[in-house]
Symmetry: C2
Subunit: 159 residues, 2 copies
């Protein structure tokens, strides 16, 4: 598996049942699309199904902060770009942006904190193995060389 040389892009189709009574993508389904984009990113980093089965290791989400910026309709073509704000030996601070063909700017952005764990008798955090870490570091370096994909998370407050 090669190192990552461009920001991962994930292109889902929008399911009809993801549209709510407001006539657009329900808030939670932006989250589901980001979640599937993370699955795709995991495959690219080598945290794929074969790795998960052979090691018992996987990623858990600790935090997620989504900004809903535009209404997305079922007919829209969308894609999600992923980048790494940072990483350490067992965590990924991920920034993602959902783009829609109708808008020049992102239709939603989200940040995630993800933890690499071993699902044994008890679930414990675990360092990335060297080959995964090399891919993580390559994506972090690439991400740092490019503009941020979205706004940073923040404390939610009435202003």
């Amino acid at each position: 598996m090669p190192l990552i040389s461009e920001l991962p892009v994930y292109r889902p189709a929008i399911a009809a049942e993801w549209i709510d009574y407001n006539g657009h993508l329900r808030d939670a389904y932006y989250g589901l699309i980001f979640s599937y984009a993370i699955d795709d990113l995991m495959d690219r980093l080598g945290i794929d199904e074969a790795y998960r089965k052979s090691t018992g290791n996987t990623l858990y989400s600790l935090e997620m902060h989504v900004f809903f910026l535009r209404e997305v309709k079922q007919s829209d073509e969308i894609h999600v770009v992923s980048s790494l704000v940072g990483a350490d030996k067992k965590r990924l601070h991920l920034a993602t942006a959902l783009h829609c063909n109708r808008f020049p700017e992102a239709a939603a952005t989200a940040e995630f904190m993800l933890l690499h764990v071993n699902q044994g008798e008890t679930v414990k955090s675990a360092p990335f193995p060297p080959d995964v870490r090399a891919r993580v570091d390559a994506l972090a370096a690439l991400s740092a060389s490019l503009p941020p994909v979205g706004a940073a998370s923040r404390k939610i407050e009435l202003r």
Copy 2:
């Protein structure tokens, strides 16, 4: 419709398809459960289907920050408690906690910023009508008299 006299509680069943390859509720489906809890809260505040149809007004999510604290399994009994951190003439700053029968503490918490809008030719923010505002204010006052239902949102960062 009476004013709200206790924090709204929403009790969903967990669908089998919400469980992912890690053997627990996929991160995004915590978000879907919170989203359904908000629909339930909207009904209680009078922002229900009849109101939406007659006025063209509804709530849009602007931001969502979720803390994933415990793994939730399909067999778990769960409920979501909602409270208001604050509100103004057209926004709700909502705090929610997902509780599970297996844990004394919340299994996840989430904050949302929600905006009351009119879906006309263009979507525009709109003040709550007086009867909705009275229910909002009652829930905000009740929430302020009780302990917070979850941790406040924050900037996501590696520490």
